[in-house]
């Protein structure tokens, strides 16, 4: 064996050599057209659907009993729903960031993972979107948040970050669906043309809306796709910044900080990168896409996770700095309770999982070790949940007035709804990657024929 094959090249290919347009299309279409073994897919889908069932039960029980089934009470009126809301929307942001931002930077590795990232965004954004509505207490009045002409002649409060958040999430979910669907049209058309059963032809034919790859369609497609990516990239930053403003707009010591919007964006893309890693690793294995989602993609995502980890670590450091530099007694009290209090383990677990362990990604051997990458990514996703626990739960324990101090205990229904939204995400994601191509075929065609799709 020669020296070159003993050691892997420093920059791996984004596609395994020898793959052609036909082999790629056949392999990717085979999944959607029911020509593969779906055993693992069923093994994943059944428990996910069971969790989705748990969500339905939790929501119905919530509607029947009201918010009292949760642990929400003063001083923790936000509780689990807002932890999970911020966590889910953060993961969603990471997906859009990969798909839109790296389209604009012409990153050649983006092409085979953008579909997975966008699909992830879609369903995590849905999970995020339902939480604030359920948290309203009277969810059937959620439309009161829209500025619509009403008999009460009232308007929503446009000076409140919570109102901005509503419109930001609303616009973000619709835009994510549009961005995902527009990018999917050529692939749905390809599936329509490959499908053998009449039902599949009709279903994909309707879904493709009559996209036929004509010169006019393609030229308009190219025209808008770049602009849409250019909108989605700043939009994702604005959405999570507004989530940060929900907190920064409050007077609570520990929330009232100008660094919250960028701090939240860092955390969002951090958890998003880790989740994309957790999704593409099984997909490339089970759908047989190792030739297109290569070690290179995993390596790049690990590096991005590392970069985001450093940004998050910087934000944590600045949080410490501003507390001690400001010397505000309420801030100090709150911070000491978080760092040395009886549940200080949450804070320290956040630091270890989000800042320390991802530093292992500096080493190439770690980035190439798939089981370790999975473990570290699970740690990041859990660590980011704990970070939001610290922000949403621990910070309000110590408001300015000692008379308002208190504690929070989640109930079974808090946990069951959280598990249920995980089921909603997994079920939606699994169904989507079963019926639509798990990677963007028309963009892969350009990679395989040596044309950069984004240029």
């Amino acid at each position: 064996m020669s020296a070159t094959t003993m050691r892997a090249p420093l920059i791996e290919d984004v596609v395994k050599p020898g793959e052609t347009v036909s082999s790629m299309t056949e392999q990717v279409c085979a999944v959607a057209l029911g020509e593969r073994n779906y055993l693992w897919w069923w093994i994943a889908l059944v428990p996910s659907a069971a969790l989705l069932g748990l969500m339905v039960v939790s929501v119905l029980w919530l509607f029947y009993q009201g918010i009292q089934v949760w642990g929400n009470d003063w001083p923790n009126v936000w509780g689990f729903p807002i932890i999970c809301y911020v966590w889910w929307i953060g993961i969603a942001s990471g997906g859009t960031f990969i798909s839109a931002f790296f389209f604009l930077t012409r990153a050649e590795w983006r092409t085979s993972i953008n579909r997975t990232a966008e699909t992830m965004t879609l369903f995590t954004a849905v999970c995020a979107g339902i939480y604030p509505i359920l948290h309203l207490g009277r969810p059937w009045f959620f439309y009161w948040l829209f500025p619509y002409p009403n008999t009460m002649t009232l308007w929503p409060n446009f000076k409140s970050p919570l109102m901005w958040d509503f419109i930001a999430i609303f616009a973000y979910i619709i835009s994510s669906v549009i961005f995902w669907y527009i990018g999917l049209l050529p692939d749905l058309a390809a599936l329509r043309d490959r499908a053998r059963s009449r039902y599949a032809q009709i279903a994909y034919g309707i879904a493709a809306l009559g996209f036929r790859g004509s010169g006019t369609q393609w030229r308009h497609f190219r025209g808008i796709y770049g602009v849409m990516a250019g909108i989605m990239a700043p939009m994702v930053c604005s959405v999570h910044s507004v989530v940060g403003l929900d907190f920064a707009g409050g007077q609570m010591p520990g929330w009232h900080a100008t660094d919250y919007p960028p701090f939240f964006v860092f955390g969002a893309v951090f958890s998003g990168f880790a989740t994309v890693l957790l999704l593409i690793i099984p997909i490339r294995h089970f759908w047989g896409l190792r030739a297109y989602i290569t070690q290179r993609h995993i390596d790049v995502l690990c590096r991005l996770t590392l970069t985001a980890s450093c940004c998050v670590a910087y934000a944590y450091l600045m949080e410490v700095f501003s507390v001690y530099y400001g010397q505000d007694p309420a801030e100090l009290r709150m911070f000491h309770a978080r760092v040395f209090g009886f549940d200080a383990s949450v804070y320290w677990a956040t630091i270890v999982l989000n800042c320390l362990i991802p530093q292992l990604y500096w080493f190439r051997t770690i980035r190439r070790n798939i089981p370790l990458v999975v473990l570290i990514s699970v740690g990041v996703v859990a660590g980011m949940w704990l970070e939001r626990y610290g922000i949403v739960i621990q910070v309000p324990h110590r408001p300015h007035l000692p008379s308002a101090w208190g504690y929070y205990h989640p109930t079974f229904w808090d946990w069951s709804l959280f598990a249920g939204t995980c089921g909603l995400f997994l079920t939606g994601f699994l169904l989507t990657i079963r019926f639509v191509p798990a990677l963007s075929m028309f963009e892969m065609r350009e990679v395989l024929t040596g044309r950069n799709p984004s240029s």
Partner: protein, 163 residues
């Protein structure tokens, strides 16, 4: 309708040039990957829609808090423009995205679930590895001339379909 199928983009472009130079009517290509160039019009539509969406979002907030329902909260001004920016930006983004999507459907007359070209078997490969061109004409004389030109360029397949 005359439908010619070619094995590569280069051969297709040669055929398109040959037909265009003879001025035999509009030629449409059907290709697995986007051809060179892009149309500008929808970008402009998205820009205008984005700006209008932003202006509308901003204007609605100014109207709501300044004219329709002014309310004194701690002596703050009724028209407090910095607070309107996040909302206005998001409505602008949303308007641009919707305009791009709806505009894409309108300019391409989508959804069009049936097209005579669907009758051809070679069209099914246009989303894989075949590079097609179609000339839609009801004039048999012109159709014959198109056929003659294309035949000389050695297409993989040449068909005449009812259009």
């Amino acid at each position: 309708m005359i439908l010619g199928s070619f094995a590569s983009e280069k051969e297709l472009m040669r055929a398109v040039d040959a037909l265009r130079s003879k001025e035999l009517g509009p030629v449409e290509t059907y290709t697995p990957s986007p051809p060179e160039g892009e149309h500008f019009i929808l970008k402009l539509v998205m820009l205008i829609a984005g700006l209008l969406g932003t202006a509308a979002g901003f204007g609605m907030q100014a109207y709501a808090t300044g004219i329709s329902y002014p309310i004194d909260i701690g002596g703050r001004p009724n028209v407090f423009w910095p607070a309107y920016i996040p909302f206005a930006v998001e409505t602008g983004f949303l308007a641009a995205m919707l305009a791009g999507f709806i505009g894409f459907l309108i300019v391409n007359c989508l959804p069009t679930l049936y097209d005579p070209i669907d009758e051809s078997d070679s069209f099914r490969r246009a989303s894989l590895d075949a590079w097609l061109l179609a000339v839609r004409t009801g004039d048999p004389d012109r159709a014959q001339r198109v056929m003659d030109i294309l035949r000389r360029l050695e297409p993989v397949r040449l068909e005449e379909l009812a259009s």
